[in-house]
Amino acid sequence: MSARPAMAALLDSPRWLGVLMIAPAVLYIVLVVGLPFVLAILYAFSGVTMGSRTIEFVGFKNFISVLETTKFQTSLRNTFVFALVAQVLVMVLGTVLAMALLKDFRGKWLVRLLILLPWVAPISLGTIGWLWILDSTYSVINWTLEALGLIGADGWFMWLGVPYLAMGSVITIHVWRILPLATVILLAGLTSIPHDIHDAAQVDGASFWRHLFQITLPLIRPIMLVAGLFGLVFAFTDMIVIFVLTRGGPYDTTQVLASLAFFTGIQAGDLAEGAAIALFLFPLLLAVAVAFLRVARRAEVT
C-alpha cells in the first residue's frame, strides 16, 4: 500500500507521535546547546587555539593560569556585583510596578505598553539607543541636566567612561531590559492571590506595610524566587548590554566573565582559556538552576 496509511498509523500511535512531536525540540537543544557545551568542556581541558589542528589535553592548567590573572579576578568580582545588584533592583522595582499595575487607573494600558516595550524590541537595538543616550558628546541626559541648570557645560558626565558610572550605567540598562519579564511574572503571582485575603487583611486592621510584608509578599514568595533565580542566571551569563555599551571598559571595570570569555576565546583566539573562563561559573549556575527547578515544582504543587 502507499505511504499514507503508514503515516496515519504512525500519527495514531501515541508512542511514536510523542517521539515525533518532541524530536524538533530535542534536536534543537542538542545541536545549539549540547554540542557547543561538550566542545567547551573539551576545549577547557586542552591547549587548543584558533587554528590548532590537533587537540592535546592539559588537565586543569587553563583554569589555574586563568585564576592568577588580575583581569580574571576583576571580572569575577564584577560579575557578582553586576548580577546581584541588577537582580535586587529588578526584584524591588518589578514588585513595585506589578503592584501599581494591579490597581485600576486611567491610562493603565499605556503604562503596561511602555513597560513591556523593552522586552519586545530587539535587545541590541535598544542597547544601541542607550549607547547614544549615554554618549560622552551627544548624551541627551547631560544635555537635559545642563538645560535644567543642574550641571555646567564643563560638568558633563562620561556615563560610559568613568569606572563607577560605567558599572552603574550597564546595571541600569540591564535592569531596564529585564524588568518587563520580572514585572509580568510578579503580576501573575499577585493576580493569583484571592481578593478575599486582601479584604480580610484590611478588616483585620493591617497597615499598608504589614499588609505588604506579612500577607502579599509571603504569598508570592514562590513566584518571586522563580523570577529571581531566572533573572540571576540570566545576569550571570549574558553580555549583550556590556558588549554593546562598554566592551568591558574602562580598564575592565565592567568586564564580566561572559564578556571576558568572548574576548579571550573568540577575539584573542585562545579557545582553551576562553572555554575555561566560560565554564568557571558552571557549578554555581547549576546549583542555582537546580534550586530554581525545585522551587518551581513546589510552587506548582501548592
Binding site: 479584604d199 480580610a200 484590611q202 486592621g205 497597615s207
Partner: protein, 358 residues
C-alpha cells in the same frame, strides 16, 4: 473563659447597632444597592436574604468599609462611618471562602488582627487561647489552613473574627462551603455562640433555611432593595409582596389570579384534601386535578391544576406523611384551603392587599 466573655460584654468594644440610611451603590450602570434603610437592634442576629445579585453582599461590604456607598450613610454605634477605613469600624468579618492566610499557622492567623491592632505581646497568646477555646480548635494551633477540614477552617475564621472583640459581626455566607450535614451542626453552634456573646450580627445568605433558622429578623432583598424586614414567622406567614411569597418556602407559595386586579396566594402545606382539615374555621373548596406525585419521605408533593375556581392555575400541594390517602396522576380530588390562610396581592405592584372573600 467566662471572665473573657464578660470582658466582651463589658469593657470590650461594646455592642453597637448598625444603621444604613438610603444607601445606594452603583457599579457603572448597575444599581447593586438601590436605597436601603435598615436599623439593627442591639445584639440582634439580622439576616440579609436574597437571590444572587440582589445586593446583599454589596450592602455587607459597605457596612464593613470594603466598598464605598455611592450615596447614603452607614452608621455603626450611632456614628457615621462612611469615611472610616474597615479597621476603625470595630467590625469583624467572616468571608465565604474564609480567607485564611494560607502561609500562616492557625495561631498566627488568629493573632494577626491582634498584632495589627497593637495588642501587647504577652496578651496575644491569652486572647488566642480564649478564641480557640470558644470553638474547640485549641489543638490545631500549629497547623496550616491547607491541613484543616472545611469545618475546622470555618471555626478558625470565626475565631479570628471574634478574637479582637468587635462591636459588630459580619458574616458572608459562612456555611455555604460546608457539606450539608456539617452545615446543620455549624448552624446550631453559630447561633449558640452568637447568643452567648450577644454581638450584633449581620449574616448574608441565599439559603432560606439558614435565614429562618438563625435570624432574629430577616431582611429579604431583591434588585438592590429590601422587600420585607421581619421575623422569620412574619416574612414566611405574612409576605409583603409576591416576590417574598415566591422566594420563601420550598415549594413556594401558590399564587393564582383571583380577579382582574388581584392575586391570591396560599402555602402548599395549607392546600390539603378536604377530609384532612379539622373543620375549625371557614374553608375555600378547590377542585384539584393531580398531574404528578413526588414522594419525598417526610412529605408528598402533588403537582396539578385547579378546576372550578381559578381554572387552569398550576399549584402544588404538600401533604405530610401522616396523610396516607392514595393519590395518582390524572385524577381529580376535592381539596381546600382555610380562608384565613389566603393572602392577597395587587396584581400590578405585587404588594400585599387586604383580605377579601373569594
Amino acid at each position: 473563659m467566662q471572665a473573657h466573655l464578660r470582658q466582651v460584654e463589658g469593657e470590650g468594644a461594646g455592642i453597637a447597632t448598625v444603621e444604613s440610611r438610603n444607601v445606594r451603590k452603583r457599579f457603572g450602570e448597575v444599581r447593586a444597592v438601590d436605597g436601603v434603610d435598615l436599623v439593627t437592634r442591639e445584639g440582634e442576629f439580622l439576616v440579609l436574604l436574597g437571590p444572587s445579585g440582589c445586593g446583599k453582599t454589596t450592602l455587607l461590604r459597605m457596612i464593613a468599609g470594603l466598598e464605598q456607598p455611592s450615596s447614603g450613610e452607614i452608621l455603626i454605634g450611632g456614628q457615621v462611618v462612611n469615611d472610616l477605613p474597615p479597621r476603625a469600624r470595630k467590625i469583624a468579618m467572616v468571608f465565604q471562602s474564609y480567607a485564611l492566610y494560607p502561609h500562616m499557622t492557625v495561631f498566627k492567623n488568629i493573632a494577626f488582627p491582634l498584632k495589627a491592632q497593637g495588642v501587647a505581646k504577652e496578651e496575644i497568646p491569652k486572647k488566642v487561647a480564649w478564641a480557640t477555646g470558644l470553638f474547640g480548635i485549641g489543638h490545631l494551633l500549629e497547623r496550616k489552613p491547607r491541613q484543616l477540614s472545611g469545618g475546622e477552617r470555618q471555626r478558625v475564621a470565626l475565631a479570628r473574627a471574634v478574637v479582637r472583640e468587635p462591636a459588630v459581626f459580619l458574616l458572608d455566607e459562612p456555611l455555604s462551603n460546608l457539606d450539608a450535614q456539617l452545615r446543620t451542626s455549624a448552624r446550631d453552634e453559630l447561633q449558640q455562640f452568637q447568643r452567648r456573646i450577644g454581638i450584633t450580627t449581620i449574616y448574608v445568605t441565599h439559603d432560606q433555611i439558614e435565614a429562618m433558622g438563625l435570624g432574629d429578623r430577616i431582611a429579604v432583598m431583591q434588585g438592590g432593595r429590601v422587600r420585607q424586614l421581619g421575623t422569620p414567622a412574619e416574612v414566611y406567614g405574612e409576605p409583603a409582596d409576591t416576590f417574598v411569597a415566591g422566594f420563601l418556602g420550598s415549594p413556594p407559595m401558590n399564587i393564582v389570579e383571583a380577579a382582574a386586579d388581584r392575586l391570591v396566594g396560599f402555602r402548599p402545606e395549607h392546600f390539603l384534601p378536604r377530609e384532612v382539615h379539622d373543620g375549625s374555621g371557614a374553608l375555600v373548596a378547590l377542585g384539584f386535578r393531580v398531574t404528578r406525585v413526588e414522594y419525598l419521605g417526610a412529605d408528598r408533593l402533588l403537582y396539578g391544576v385547579l378546576e372550578d375556581k381559578f381554572p387552569g392555575a398550576k399549584v402544588i400541594a404538600r401533604l405530610p406523611s401522616t396523610v396516607t390517602l392514595p393519590y395518582e396522576g390524572g385524577r381529580r380530588y376535592e381539596f381546600a384551603v382555610p380562608e384565613k390562610e389566603l393572602r392577597f396581592f395587587d396584581r400590578t405592584s405585587g404588594l400585599r392587599t387586604v383580605s377579601r372573600p373569594v
